[in-house]
């Protein structure tokens, strides 16, 4: 027994550091769902899903009964699906955003289960598929906009599907109505009414109105305004009244009838004793089908029909502690599409077959998360000091535990609510060993008007007391070694205030996009300081009063002792950057160490996934560093766990390196790439090599660079292969070796057939000696059509990359006349050239200076300062050396803009030891007229060197060659 125990112990020591769960890779967690917008055809025969990947955007057609893929509609990478629906059991309507324009498509499923797609010529949108009228639908056709505004008008039609596809409105029924001041249209199928809303600027209200679907005058039925209570229309109750959700004269949001003729609120149709109702649905006979509310953070569907109710009960039992609900169903309700989501479930789809009484799993929303373990949340009821019961969610790590509590107040703080649905931020931290606490403090939505109103004006007071009650509750139950407060927006404010009020309780604070000067909220700008604005703000913050300073971190900064990180968006107009900058200024002035991350081009939150990933990575890195918590050693981790930690470091490094919303800091970039490299992050190893290669923040060392590229190649990084391939092909630092070049370039192309890898291998096949040369492969790899199929944007980028390859081939290729002609023909086709032979005229050669224009709005230009090949070194950034000239082609006319000609340029550098290095090889094309300039910066040259410029035309005639001599030690 002892031997077995020992064996088990030894095995467990080799287990993953994280046990069952491990850190989730940020790029897989913070990502758009792969599968979304699932729909069932009315007969339940087909299922459609919007599927997105790096390779394309598709609508997949699936047989849900067998979970079998049938076919797909390829939207291309440049398009985004906006919305779609089944018109009948064999046709679909799609609204797609393509190049910022909305276009409409009709798809028809043919007998082979392929979807034939036709582009609709008419601009507009589908209003309703009209189940009562076979093959007819309601369409809002966009009219030409009025010249004095950007607004569009719409004509409404009931039209046959075939006529709509053919843009033939001759037989369509035009629904007469007044289109002025109308926004979107909606259709109520039960009462055959078309609804719309109109914004009344003076009254600051929105009018809801309708016409019958046969046309007529608008009838106003409802006014949406700030009444001090909520009232939201749900649908028609009968011909003269609406169903509304409202908390007028009630604490909770309840369902009531509203007579729009008499404007009287009628009976309560349903109310929940504890929670605000969120939504309701009625059937065609006006009978209440279900209501929804949030209970313990999950949406509950309360059905009133006994069969429906039984079904939901069974569903809830099958998916305990999760939200499971019907997202679509067939017309006869026999087949249903179910979506499941929960604290530890990112999203799954199921197909329910009533006849077979079976539920089959279809697929998940996030493919990369399918096999991951997540941390479930625990719902808590916490009693505050005045006896109020509030709700909280505690998420504990499933694997390794740093015994560190992260208190995460939500934003708002009014009318916002924490849920128990899948939360990317929570799972990010929980999977990295942190416990996360979230609280629905007073002011949160979902628990009635009184509960919500109690939070108004309680910044830094009751709200933080509620949070502290929850913190005390969980710290009594669990032993934490550290506690940090971390939040965004109001959450950022609250995190800072918690540490000011309870300095003994918090070991660190991370405040993102926070407000720290409450009076500033009332005085942010000329348009955000007037009476109306202040009235709006006071509904959340409380009345504008000097006492707000007593709860503003700016004015309490001397009491802030906890280590702090501040993140903010420089373009934030909700919590202006000024809030964060003030707090940073004051704390720095005091000598309080503050880490900061200020995002460029970012408002109140991130506009892309990189921003989210970066924020989490840098925040968790800060927390670990501040608390002195060690990450596990790479050897103790599974490959996936290692990759997750490595990627966190790499994201931080990338932020400091590349052109993104994070300010550049090369030193920090290198530091984090090194940290990532310790966890064998292939790209980071490569990037460090690149730093040695460029001599960027490191002493230039090509030997070290090659060593790191080879290490990165062992980790299967495609950039490493392509870089090594190029170096062996060009003989850069290494002895030219065509065999090795071939091996590396081929491997790069196999790992990723992107344009760079394809074209570099193409170059190899065109310029290599006979043993390796393969001209046909060279041409095949340079084909641009595959990129055009995927995306026009990709195609454009590929076309740019091709310029370098064609230039290389022109300069280095030992081609036959026939092969040369094929390269020229390719260039002619791709760049639409009209001429291949050209001559240089009006050549100016030497040193150029940039002369600013004295005329506003006109660009400056480079003018020749000194003629000659000896270039005097200068530190002036605007000085250049090189050539300027005009091109002439036979029969050229200045007025002929259709003429296009191309030349190939090569710059190379020779050092005093005789070693030669290629700098640029590029094809340039355009209209012959005007100056063509090829200039290099003088100030960036670091060593004595000879720079050679060669120019060829597409017929491979050498047009020009010139050497320039520069010595940085001689000059300014």
């Amino acid at each position: 027994m002892k031997k077995i125990n020992l064996a088990i112990t030894l095995i467990c020591l080799m287990c993953s550091f994280w046990g069952n769960a491990e850190p989730i890779i940020a790029s897989k967690l913070y990502a758009t769902p792969d599968n979304s917008m699932l729909r069932l055809s009315p007969d339940g025969k087909f299922l459609t899903a919007y599927y997105r990947s790096d390779k394309g955007h598709y609508i997949n057609l699936i047989d849900p009964h067998r979970n079998k893929f049938l076919s797909r509609v390829d939207l291309g990478l440049d398009s985004k699906l906006d919305t779609y629906q089944w018109l009948n059991s064999s046709q679909l309507y799609f609204s797609v955003i393509y190049r910022n324009q909305r276009i409409s498509l009709i798809g028809s499923v043919n007998k082979n289960n392929d979807v034939d797609v036709k582009l609709m010529k008419s601009k507009g949108y589908l209003l309703d598929s009209l189940t009562g009228f076979e093959n007819q639908l309601l369409f809002a056709k966009r009219k030409k906009s009025r010249s004095d505004t950007r607004d569009y008008y719409y004509d409404l039609y009931r039209i046959n599907i075939v006529d709509l596809i053919n843009d033939d409105f001759s037989d369509a029924f035009k629904i007469k109505h007044d289109p002025k001041n109308v926004s979107n249209y909606f259709y109520d199928e039960q009462y055959k009414r078309i609804l719309t809303t109109e914004y009344k600027k003076k009254e600051k209200s929105i009018i809801v109105k309708y016409i019958p679907d046969t046309g007529g005058d608008w009838t106003n039925i409802f006014k949406i305004k700030d009444y001090g209570y909520k009232i939201e229309p749900v649908g028609f109750f009968d011909a003269n009244s609406l169903v509304v959700l409202t908390n007028k004269n009630s604490d909770k949001m309840v369902l009531r009838a509203y007579d729009f003729k008499s404007k009287i609120l009628g009976e309560v149709l349903y109310q929940h004793p504890e929670y605000d109702l969120k939504s309701a649905a009625f059937d065609d006979q006006g009978k209440l089908v279900y209501v929804t509310y949030l209970q313990h953070g999950l949406t509950k569907f309360l059905y009133f029909d006994s069969d429906d109710s039984q079904f939901i009960k069974r569903l809830n039992k099958s998916f305990e502690n999760k939200e499971a609900y019907v997202v679509d169903e067939s017309a006869d309700e026999r087949f249903k599409l179910i979506y499941v989501n929960g604290s530890d479930e990112p999203g799954e789809y199921f197909f329910y077959n009533q006849q077979k009484n079976s539920v089959n799993r279809l697929f998940v929303s996030h493919l990369d998360l399918e096999d991951k373990s997540f941390s479930p949340s625990q719902h808590l009821n916490v009693t505050t000091s005045d006896g109020t019961v509030i709700e909280a969610f505690l998420t504990m790590p499933v694997g390794y535990d740093y015994k560190t509590l992260l208190v995460m107040p939500h934003g708002g703080p009014i009318a916002v609510q924490e849920s128990d649905r899948f939360n990317k931020n929570v799972q990010y931290y929980a999977s990295r060993g942190f416990t996360v606490l979230r609280v629905n403090f007073r002011g949160s939505a979902g628990f009635g008007k009184a509960f919500q109103t109690q939070g108004v004006g309680e910044f830094g007071r009751l709200i933080e007391e509620d949070i502290t009650a929850a913190v005390n509750h969980v710290t009594e139950l669990h032993n934490f070694e550290n506690t940090c407060a971390i939040g965004s927006s109001y959450g950022g404010y609250s995190a800072v205030m918690l540490s000011i009020k309870h300095p003994e309780q918090y070991d660190c604070v991370v405040g993102s996009f926070g407000v720290y000067d409450l009076p500033l909220l009332f005085n942010a700008s000329n348009y955000r300081s007037g009476k109306e604005h202040r009235k709006r703000v006071s509904k959340t913050v409380g009345e504008y009063h000097d006492d707000l300073r007593l709860v503003s971190p700016i004015y309490l900064f001397e009491q802030l002792k906890t280590p702090l990180m501040l993140l903010a968006g420089r373009n934030d107009k909700v919590a202006d950057f000024e809030h964060t900058n003030r707090l940073h200024y004051l704390l720095k002035r005091q000598g309080h160490n503050v880490d900061t991350m200020f995002y460029d081009n970012t408002g109140h939150g991130h506009y892309n996934w990189f921003g989210n990933r970066h924020q989490s990575a840098i925040s968790s890195d800060y927390i670990l560093r501040t608390l002195g918590l060690k990450r596990p050693e790479p050897n103790n981790l599974t490959a996936a766990a290692k990759e997750a930690i490595a990627e966190d470091f790499a994201i931080i490094a990338d932020g400091y390196s590349f052109d993104n919303q994070v300010p550049d800091d090369k030193k920090k970039a290198l530091e984090y790439y090194h940290l990532a490299a310790e966890y064998n992050h292939p790209r980071s190893v490569f990037n460090i090599g690149a730093h040695y290669h460029r001599g960027d923040e490191l002493v230039k060392d090509l030997g070290k660079a090659v060593e790191l590229y080879k290490k990165s190649a062992k980790l299967e990084h495609q950039y490493a292969f392509t870089r090594l391939g190029r170096m062996y092909m060009e003989g850069e630092h290494v002895t030219k070796d065509w065999g090795k070049a071939h091996q590396y370039l081929e491997k790069a192309q196999l790992l990723d057939d992107n344009p760079r890898n394809n074209f570099r291998l193409a170059r190899f096949y065109c310029i290599a000696p006979d043993k390796y040369k393969n001209f046909d492969k060279c041409l095949e790899l340079m084909a641009l059509k595959p990129y055009l199929k995927q995306s026009e944007v990709k195609h454009k980028k590929a076309k740019k990359e091709l310029r370098e390859t064609i230039a290389w081939i022109l300069f280095e290729g030992q081609l036959t006349t026939n092969e040369q002609q094929k390269i020229t023909d390719m260039a002619i086709e791709v760049f639409e050239l009209t001429d291949t032979e050209t001559t240089i005229e009006n050549l100016r050669m030497g040193t150029f200076n940039y002369i600013e224009s004295s005329k506003f709005g006109t660009n400056g230009k480079y003018e020749l300062a000194h003629s000659g090949s000896a270039v005097s070194f200068t530190k002036k950034k605007s000085s250049r050396f090189g050539v300027a000239f005009e091109l002439d082609v036979p029969g050229f006319s200045v007025n002929d803009k259709a003429q296009q000609v191309a030349i190939a340029i090569r710059w190379s550098k020779t050092l005093p030891d005789g070693s030669k290095e290629p700098i640029d090889n590029e094809l340039y094309w355009g209209v012959p007229s005007g100056d063509w300039l090829f200039l290099k910066s003088i100030s960036t040259i670091e060593e004595k060197s000879t720079w050679t410029l060669e120019i060829y035309d597409m017929a491979k005639n050498k047009l020009y060659t010139q050497e320039f001599f520069i010595d940085p030690d001689n000059g300014e």
């Binding site: 500033l520 942010a524 700008s525 000329n526 348009y527 950057f577 000024e578 506003f856």
Partner: protein, 184 residues
């Protein structure tokens, strides 16, 4: 927000009485006219502007030199009184006329540095659409003065004269200067 974005179709009669001004270059406090103060205006624009006209006791025109793409600061000495930003000339033909004057007013108090806000201008690529707002970015203005005009800042009270009200500068002035100098 009433901003009229217009194209100048005819040659307009410009406000030829406007005095063209440019930002003070040297970090030297100067003897001001008793009825003058310093105006500090931040300008943030996503493209170069041609000029900005400001009306008041002295009508002034900020020129293209101080209106380059990015963040600029204008520090000038000016007659005390109430001013209003009138017009932003985007290019040779397009301009923004700020017709809601009440939102573009600011005041200059004699003998003090008057920070009146950052004029934030955002123009679409085709110059067809523009937005303008006068935003309170007091801390950035203070940092700018500490870095570039510490001599003037040392001698003069810094006052907020922009939209709404703000106690931030007054609060800074109450903080212990010694503690700050020691730490920095």
């Amino acid at each position: 927000m009433r901003i009229l974005l217009a194209t100048l179709l005819l040659v307009s009669l410009c406000s030829c009485q406007s005095t063209k001004v440019t930002t003070i270059a040297k970090n030297e406090d100067k003897l001001l006219d008793p009825n003058s103060g310093f105006l500090l205006l931040g300008i943030e624009t996503n493209r170069n502007m041609k000029f900005i006209e400001i009306s008041g006791p002295t009508d002034i025109q900020l020129t293209a030199k101080d209106l380059k793409e990015g963040t600029n600061y204008l520090l000038i000495d000016l007659s005390a009184g109430n001013y209003a930003v009138e017009r932003v000339q985007l290019g040779n033909y397009r301009y923004i006329s700020l017709e809601d004057e009440e939102n573009w007013k600011f005041s200059v108090v004699p003998g003090q540095i008057n920070y009146v806000g950052h004029l934030e201008l955002n123009t679409s690529q085709n110059a067809f659409y523009s937005s303008a707002e006068l935003v309170n970015r007091s801390s950035e203005a203070l940092q700018f003065l500490e870095k570039e005009f510490s001599a003037i800042l040392t001698n003069r009270k810094l006052k907020y004269g922009g939209p709404g009200e703000d106690a931030f500068f007054d609060f800074i002035s109450t903080l212990s200067k010694d503690k700050y100098d020691e730490k920095n």
